[in-house]
Symmetry: C2
Subunit: 419 residues, 2 copies
């Protein structure tokens, strides 16, 4: 039997050694590797689909539902999509070595902050195998070694992807331990890795709440966490109500099961009589269940009453809480009390109201006249994301290559001493 304590230490030490080399490779070497990965994704289609098939035949054993099976399934089209995403990452500016700022001090010292990798990333994720490629591409592009811990449901697919990633590393002369896949699905292995604060610089858990809570509790290193998305739209009295209807329906219905989907609609009472029947009908047409406050419920035929508990719930489903407010301040107070600091939107034609709202709502993304669904690494121009942080520390919102870096001060002098 595998000695988990020894195994995890070996993997993490190998990652640390690889990270040291990876921190100083050239941009071109990283681009060459990304292009080699994209090439292998195309040339090994049959091999990858065969490995994926081995996972797919076991899905009933793991009790996966149809949506989970769909997420797990690869196809030639999906592989092409993954290859294109890798090529997109290759087009991003290399974050490493970026001089963030330089100050010339009165004594002649030149003090620069230079962007450097975080070092070793421990990434824990669930069934979608494409995440294996995305995460490895983002980590290597940002000079980090990564330890991948995927779900057991995708083990064969992930192993085939991992082999491809390592073959490309070897081909391009990069350290082979830059990308390692945890070779056991034993859940205890995670606990061992989480203790290795000296060897792992950050853990990123991407999965359900219980996983994230466990990691947060046990990790001896920083964690980039992704908790609930209880997202709001506030329809101001000055809103364009056609725009508001379109944005509310999109935010709720375009993909209701994700973190940046709308959960609560707040409407200024001055426009409630006109807006709520209209948006209510549009939502009911999309089979959304409406739960309204005392004032809003009668304005939306078929709506159920909303409780305090509703306002604190991330439905991840075609259900929407609705509440009228007497002012923008009441809307902000509601978001402060019930929101999760993820994504909140104001719909308004009044730029003063927009500025008031964006200054006072303290969420990872605060939007004006746009769907909550835009809080996403790709949509924000980060290329891809390894996760969306709901923390305030280090990185907030979508995390791309830059968010898994840090900086060091590089100081040039010509003999300065301190007096």
């Amino acid at each position: 039997m595998l000695n988990l304590s020894e195994y995890t230490k070996t993997v993490a030490s190998q990652a640390r050694a690889a990270a040291r080399e990876l921190a100083v490779v050239t941009t071109q070497q990283k681009i060459d590797w990304l292009q080699a990965v994209a090439g292998l994704l195309r040339s090994r289609t049959q091999e990858l689909l065969a490995a994926n098939e081995q996972d797919l035949v076991k899905t009933s054993e793991y009790g996966l539902n149809d949506a989970a099976i769909d997420r797990l399934r690869l196809s030639a089209d999906r592989l092409e999509g993954i290859a294109v995403a890798v090529e997109e990452i290759a087009k991003l500016p290399d974050p490493i070595g970026e001089i963030i700022e330089t100050k010339l001090r009165p004594n002649g010292l030149e003090v620069s902050r230079v962007r450097v990798p975080l070092g070793v990333v421990f990434f824990i994720y669930e069934s979608r195998p494409n995440v294996t490629i995305d995460a490895a591409a983002l980590c290597v592009m940002s000079g980090n070694a990564v330890i991948l811990r995927g779900g057991k449901e995708a083990f064969q697919s992930n192993s085939a992807f991992h082999k491809l990633l390592v073959d490309a590393l070897t081909e391009c002369g990069l350290p082979e331990h830059s990308v390692q896949l945890v070779s056991t699905t034993d859940r205890e292995a995670v606990g061992h890795f989480l203790k290795l604060g000296e060897l792992i610089d950050v853990t990123i858990p991407r999965g359900g709440r219980s996983l994230i809570e466990r990691v947060n509790r046990e990790a001896a290193m920083p964690v980039i966490k992704h908790f609930d998305g209880i997202c709001h739209i506030y329809v101001d009295k000055s809103a364009d109500l056609d725009m508001a209807t379109s944005i509310v329906v999109n935010s709720k219905c375009q993909r209701p099961g994700v973190c940046n989907a709308l959960e609560t609609l707040l409407v200024h009472e001055d426009v409630a009589d006109e807006f709520l029947p209209r948006v209510g009908k549009a939502l009911v047409d999309q089979t959304v269940e409406l739960r309204g406050c005392e004032k809003s419920k009668p304005l939306m035929p078929g709506a159920k009453p909303a409780s305090e508990q509703d306002y604190g719930t991330e439905y991840l489903d075609l259900i929407l809480s609705v509440r009228t407010v007497r002012s923008i301040d009441e809307a902000i107070d509601h978001i402060t009390e019930f929101g999760s600091g993820h994504t909140d939107t104001i719909i308004t034609e009044d730029s003063t109201a927009a500025d008031y709202f964006t200054a006072r709502v303290d969420s990872a993304a605060v939007m004006v006249n746009a769907s909550t669904r835009f809080n996403d690494g790709g949509e924000f121009g980060l290329g891809a994301e390894i996760g969306i942080s709901t923390d305030r520390f280090h990185a907030r919102g979508p995390c791309g290559v830059r968010e898994i870096t840090t900086y060091k001060y590089v100081v040039h002098g010509d003999g300065q001493i301190r007096v």
Copy 2:
């Protein structure tokens, strides 16, 4: 007796409410407050010195040594110095509201990252009372509410400073709970605060190793830590040996008891015969005890042998480890193995060697031809510092106003929905 659980929750909730207001005050309001604080430091000199005297008469009770008593002691001159430091902070650009970057996306969305406060800072520190004013000034300037937990030795001084800070807050119309001083010196209070992860955004412990380790173990929120400073100077074969001597002596002797003082000198063997006798003499003249490796010991009269343990020790005293190396790589390997990621310097006239060293040594500050003593908030142009981070996450090196901020995405659209 004080109910610590209730008391700490009240203080933290008050801080949270104040932080919400403070996040949106104008730059001018913050500058007015800093100037009011500087004014009161000058007009209340007698009152402040009297409070300080109450602490000074108790120093023997707390067993303070002379150095600690000196750190605790205020004088009219020192108060003037503190007032000037506050005025310096008032001259810094307001970090809050800074638009870090803006991207216009192909769909017309304007995506900006805007700097915002972290929120509530819990700051734990030891005897120097001027730190009370520095920390409060840095926190308020960066829109953060702060909970100050000073040492019991400075309790009367800190209380007088705190009264002054709050009087200035009231005078300027800022929330009075922006700056709170923990009114009990019961050490258990710290444990209660550390559990309040929902109300406190970051804890900054500034003190001995045992305090930092305790905070790190117990804190439910992020911590900005400051561990050892095992700082190195590597004298390259191409070094200007006069410059090297001057920088080594300054780094070791200018203030040996602080974290950015030199602890280990690495010398390329090609210049050891010439350099070591010279620098050895200069150091012995400053009463430095030398501990050399096998090769360097005979070159420095009076030197003792250095052990492996010496290389991992932060002396904080007039003691220096010395080792010769055969190459720049051996120097980098030594620093990687024994260093603490604080400050490391290369002395060289060869810019290729300088670049090689700065790229590969992964410390908060890597310097070329300058004293290690420059790793400091004031010297780096940050105005002042609330601490020096030895972490890699969020903030590295000296932490000024910017390092206790975060960002949010502010997105402006004109009706965009996601397709």
